[in-house]
């Protein structure tokens, strides 16, 4: 296999999402962006900044402050020949739009006997860590995972943010794209032009033999930091970034657990019925004989996200908690 030099540019995670959308919008005039403040203002968290300069207000559409209409109209637009990228600022607002997402977008294809496709992306910021409190800080990927017909992705790096947003835009299904707000300004080398990370493919971020740590979104960096700290103590941890929540790449996890025989799952979402429970159930159900120790979850506690920095820091999973969980298994 010949290796072609891929030209890369240094950019932030947020810029990588924007770059991916721009690449696709140049290719396909049916793609448009709609959301509150997405035009000149660049969206609530600045991700679409500059997009309107190239594509104009018809394709970068400022909407009224109406999340239900933002998502609801996107479903109809997708049915009728467009490929909308809808933005709601925070995934906490999924509660407002859940009917449009869960009852309309997700179910239309199945209810209508496979006769319609809904090629839409719903982008939202997720996650805690900026002292934004209980209604602007949640990680709600499990809500989305519980509705058949939705795909859900949660990239952890700029390069995956670009590759996955392009894959999401090209997908003929509704895809929920969760951008962690503490990752938006991290920088990385991102390939120029068309670059795709397939939906449904996890990535081994660090090789190891003693334990598998599965994480996604902002928890990947914490898992990697934990792995580094564990290495200093002679423990070899393998870190898997799921990248996509649904469809879940169970093969990647089972393959790793077959090697390490231990599994720690890390997510920022609250514990009960978090997606970690699904990962654990799949590994227990299909790979129980691979395990030499109980499966451990490192998660937020079952509380709303607190405001006080002291409380929020205590609430969030981190490298120390992950390290302690791993050591408890050995």
């Amino acid at each position: 296999m010949t290796t072609q030099a891929i030209k890369t540019t240094t950019m932030t995670y947020g810029q990588a999402v924007c770059d991916g959308m721009a690449v696709e919008m140049r290719r396909d005039p049916t793609i448009y962006v709609a959301g509150e403040d997405v035009g000149m203002f660049g969206g609530g968290l600045g991700v679409t900044l500059g997009l309107i300069d190239e594509f104009g207000p018809k394709r970068v559409r400022n909407t009224p402050l109406s999340e239900t209409a933002i998502v609801g109209h996107a479903v109809g637009a997708a049915m009728a020949g467009l490929r909308p990228i809808a933005e709601i600022m925070f995934d906490d607002f999924l509660g407002i739009v859940l009917d449009e997402l869960g009852n309309q977008a997700a179910k239309a294809r199945y209810m209508f006997g496979g006769k319609v496709a809904i090629p839409m992306v719903l982008r939202a910021s997720c996650g805690a860590g900026i002292r934004a409190a209980a209604q602007h800080s949640q990680s709600l990927e499990a809500w989305c995972a519980h509705v058949p017909g939705l795909k859900t992705v949660a990239p952890s790096t700029p390069v995956d943010a670009k590759g996955l947003i392009i894959a999401a835009v090209r997908d003929d299904n509704p895809v929920v794209f969760l951008e962690h707000k503490t990752l938006l300004n991290i920088q990385g080398e991102v390939p120029e032009g068309e670059y795709i990370v397939p939906i449904g493919k996890a990535e081994v971020k660090r090789q190891g033999g003693d334990v598998t740590i599965v994480a996604w979104s902002a928890m990947v960096a914490q898992a990697l930091a934990a792995a580094e700290a564990l290495a200093a103590e002679g423990v070899s941890a393998e870190v898997i970034d799921l990248r996509t929540i649904v469809p879940f790449d169970k093969e990647a996890v089972l393959e790793s657990v077959a090697k390490t025989n231990r599994l720690v799952i890390v997510h920022e979402a609250v514990r009960t019925a978090g997606f970690g429970a699904e990962v654990a159930a799949v590994v227990a159900g299909e790979g129980l004989d691979l395990l030499d120790a109980p499966i451990v979850r490192v998660t937020a506690p079952d509380t709303p996200v607190p405001f006080s920095p002291v409380l929020e820091d205590a609430y969030l999973p981190n490298a120390d908690k992950i390290k302690a969980a791993v050591l408890s298994l050995l």
């Binding site: 239900t68 109809g76 209508f112 006997g113």
Partner: protein, 354 residues
């Protein structure tokens, strides 16, 4: 209880005051007053008959336990679906409701595939996966009935945006009932449709009840002027007689022409009545048994048939024959459905994703 007696001529405030039929006086010259050809006028009657027979058969099948789940029928409201859809092209869009069979038929849906779907058969519109409340036909611009009250509103507005962005002249009609007038999404989509000047018609069928809840008890609306709400969005609105297919056609035609011409959204409120319950099996405890009687006198099908005869556009014999043909079409649809295979359970997980 507020007055729900029907009236022949509509007025600005939803036609609630019982007035004499002013528009009836013009019935003598249907071709001249509507600009429709005789065959088009006859087509309106035939389509209403087909809907009536379909719904009557549905009710029979449901009571016999052969249609399962929940079925909401449309007897009495046929003039609305037919009057509205007679103004649309194949490429125009509609979104429908839980009471959606008539909208599908009026927009060009196939009664065989519909009946097969209602019986849960593999040959049905949705391969038996959708049932009564989820019939769609993309080839006819039918973007789905919907089990969620107000569920079609976002979809209709998005379809209207597609027309605008893709440079097409298609129009989207969003059917909903008086109950859905109180869903929050109507506010959001009305506003966004007006802001974006979208080619959409918000088509409200006021049949006076959202399930058991009467409009008097649940709609904060001066003089029951449902269309008056459109003024909040600077959207033009009309109220028409939903028991009169011509009145519905003309009111909707004006709104559709405005949308197609770039004039943006409209509200059209059709004052109508459902002869039967919310669903087949509804005990109707919330409505006087006699309340339906004056509305049955205004049954849109025999009344319009009478106008065609009076106008020498049809004979009684022809009307009887068309009714028989509608019955035959539904009988064939039922035979098709009954002869169709059940879905194969081994396929039940297909079509979740494209």
């Amino acid at each position: 209880m507020a007055d729900q007696r029907p009236q022949g001529k509509t007025n600005a405030a939803g036609g609630r005051s019982p007035k004499a039929g002013g528009r009836k006086a013009k019935a003598a010259k249907l071709v001249e007053t509507t600009g429709l050809r005789p065959d088009e006028l006859i087509g309106l009657l035939q389509r209403m008959m087909l809907i009536r027979e379909f719904e009557e058969e549905c009710a029979r099948l449901y009571r016999a336990g052969r249609i399962r789940g929940v079925t909401h029928t449309y007897q009495g409201q046929e003039a609305v679906a037919v009057g509205v859809c007679s103004t649309l092209n194949v490429s125009d869009f509609i979104t429908s409701t839980h009471r959606g069979h008539a909208h599908v038929i009026a927009k060009g849906g196939d009664v065989n595939l519909m009946m097969a779907e209602l019986l849960g058969k593999a040959t049905g519109y949705c391969k038996g996966r959708g049932g009564s409340m989820h019939i769609a036909d993309m080839s006819q611009g039918i973007l789905g009935a919907n089990g969620i009250v107000g569920g079609g509103m976002g979809i209709a507005v998005g379809a209207a945006l597609s027309s605008k962005m893709l440079g097409r002249d298609t129009v989207a009609v969003c059917f909903f009932g008086d109950g859905a007038m109180n869903q929050g999404i109507l506010h959001e989509v009305s506003n966004i449709a007006a802001c974006w000047n979208l080619p959409v018609v918000f088509l409200c069928e006021n049949n006076f009840y959202g399930m058991s809840a009467s409009v008097e008890d649940t709609l904060a609306c001066k003089e029951m002027n449902l269309a008056g709400r459109a003024a909040a969005y600077d959207i033009p609105a009309a109220t028409c007689d939903g028991m009169d297919v011509i009145d519905v056609h003309l009111a909707t035609r004006a709104a559709v022409e405005r949308a197609r011409g770039g004039g943006g959204p409209s509200y059209v409120v059709c004052t109508t009545y459902r002869f039967l319950g919310h669903h087949v099996g509804d005990p109707l405890t919330y409505r006087d048994k006699s309340a339906v009687d004056p509305w049955r006198l205004r049954d849109p099908i025999p009344n319009f048939a009478g106008r065609l005869v009076a106008d020498n556009l049809a004979t009684r014999e022809q009307v009887d024959r068309w009714e028989a043909e509608a019955k035959d079409a539904i009988a064939r649809a039922l035979a098709f459905a009954e002869e169709s295979p059940d879905p194969d359970p081994s396929n039940l997980t297909e079509d979740v994703f494209a």
